[in-house]
Subunit: 299 residues, 2 copies
């Protein structure tokens, strides 16, 4: 298949492009920068520019569109009004591609769309949708609108909800990266109480799952997660053990974030049974994250 990937130079995008190529697909990567990927066609484009959706759709001649691009202004995007620009730009983009004959569209959502249940996993079928921030509200709204667009044009549409990611290219201040960097430097890794339970997935698995989802016929919302529940404290402790420095893990050294939900975990039945995807074990992913940051440090 000929697949267009927007946000291709991002944390997830790079892994998706690589996974699609491994599956033998022809990839056209779209991003705002000059970033280029080996063996893939790169189009530099800002999707928020008027008319860009049409230009891209005409140029690409794509069988499938995987749309990852969205506002990611660090620390700001949760309540940034540009979320609304992304919403309408996304609808324009998908519409333009559908008009040009693209029959398959996959867009990413977020676990923040759910009204997280405290005693169970977030299920695509049963968990109610909530609005915590402008970011997830805009994503939810986008999904609802695209559902209508898909019905009208008759293309096949999937919405992949990402949970918590770590791995190559992670922002150095995020949980797994920062704990890895601390223990590798022989410094204390100051953590919150660590009681919050999450579903952590290696970004390479997220990329592979999204690639598979994009070229599949699966429709509707689908959780993209490893399905391995772990508390933040468990993750930090495991990194400490893998690095043979469990003494450096300081749980409770910093306060818990106010309003942080106690549990955000994914029901991965659809991903496993309908897409047949299985992520690597958390322990292996964390070992590889340690190796990644160790290599970074050495280089």
């Amino acid at each position: 298949m000929r697949v267009v990937v927007t946000g291709a130079s991002g944390f997830v995008g790079r892994q998706v492009v690589s996974a699609l190529r491994s599956l033998g697909h022809s990839v056209i990567s779209v991003g705002r920068g000059d970033y280029t990927l080996n063996d893939s066609q790169w189009i530099r484009a800002d999707i928020l520019n008027p008319g860009m959706a049409e230009t891209l759709a005409a140029a690409a001649g794509a069988d499938a569109l995987l749309h990852l691009a969205w506002t990611t202004r660090h620390g700001l995007y949760w309540n940034d009004l540009t979320n609304l620009e992304w919403l309408s730009a996304t609808v324009e983009l998908v519409t333009a591609f559908a008009k040009r004959g693209t029959r398959r569209v996959c867009v990413v959502g977020t676990c923040f769309e759910y009204d997280w249940p405290e005693d169970s996993d977030c299920s695509e079928s049963f968990t109610p949708i909530s609005a915590h921030t402008l970011y997830d509200a805009a994503k939810s709204s986008c999904r609802r609108v695209l559902d209508r667009v898909a019905g009208q044009f008759g293309f096949s549409f999937a919405w992949g909800r990402l949970f918590y990611l770590y791995g190559p290219g992670e922002h150095p201040d995020r949980l797994v990266a920062s704990v890895c960097r601390s223990v590798l430097a022989g410094e204390n890794a100051r953590c919150s109480s660590g009681n919050a339970v999450r579903d952590f997935m290696d970004v390479r698995d997220a990329g592979a799952a999204l690639a598979r989802l994009t070229v599949s016929n699966l429709q509707g919302s689908i959780n993209i997660a490893a399905g391995e529940k772990a508390s933040v404290g468990y993750v930090a402790t495991m990194i400490g053990e893998l690095a043979a420095r469990p003494d450096l893990i300081r749980l409770g050294a910093i306060p818990d974030r106010v309003g942080d939900p106690p549990r955000v975990t994914a029901d991965v039945t659809r991903l496993r049974c309908e897409l047949g995807f299985e992520a690597r074990p958390l322990r292996l992913g964390l070992q590889e994250a340690l190796n990644y940051w160790s290599d970074k440090k050495g280089s």
Copy 2:
């Protein structure tokens, strides 16, 4: 024509329904309450309920849809995440009606969509769009999305941007109502400096203009305003004079609102030349507002 009006029991909605009836159209009013209007069919419905769009469209058999309903939670709606629910519900509603054969759709926007120029009127063609609050950003995004929907279904689509309204049914704390009430009670009307320039329109004119717009073939964005620029101070002073109590108008008695734009005025060329609509003079409207509040007081 058979016209469905949502938000029909609201400040603007009541006037629109009455104007459409005067023009000889058959009106189906939709609202969340039990409110009923003489000679018009009333459907009680919450558009945010899943499936409601489809139910309404099927029941209505409408030639035209005028969609006014939106979140209006007093003081909250500027940054309320329900704006996003209204965005997607609006797209669902319009899509459902289009599928059922409705060929004309009119939705209301707001002067807050504009990046207000300080030295000229807001023009549908030339003034850039900005994002001041979640409310106007969601409205802008909605318009862009509906433009695509209209293109796809081939229905005729107009977007009426309302400016500043006053008149029967106005919230008693808003400018014109509160100044009228104060002077009628013989009390001081404490105002800001009054330097901000606005375009005030009688809500009955806004209703009449929207009614005409809905049953016209005019497409795209169109400002719904009187086209008579007046400073807030001028408006308050005129009410004082009309009530023969100019002594009660106290400009500068309360601070100006932080971030209040110095000028929000409308270019009404489209409304006047393409729709042929002319609003009543401000002086007449204010006199009638005084009469309205005087009657209210007496009753």
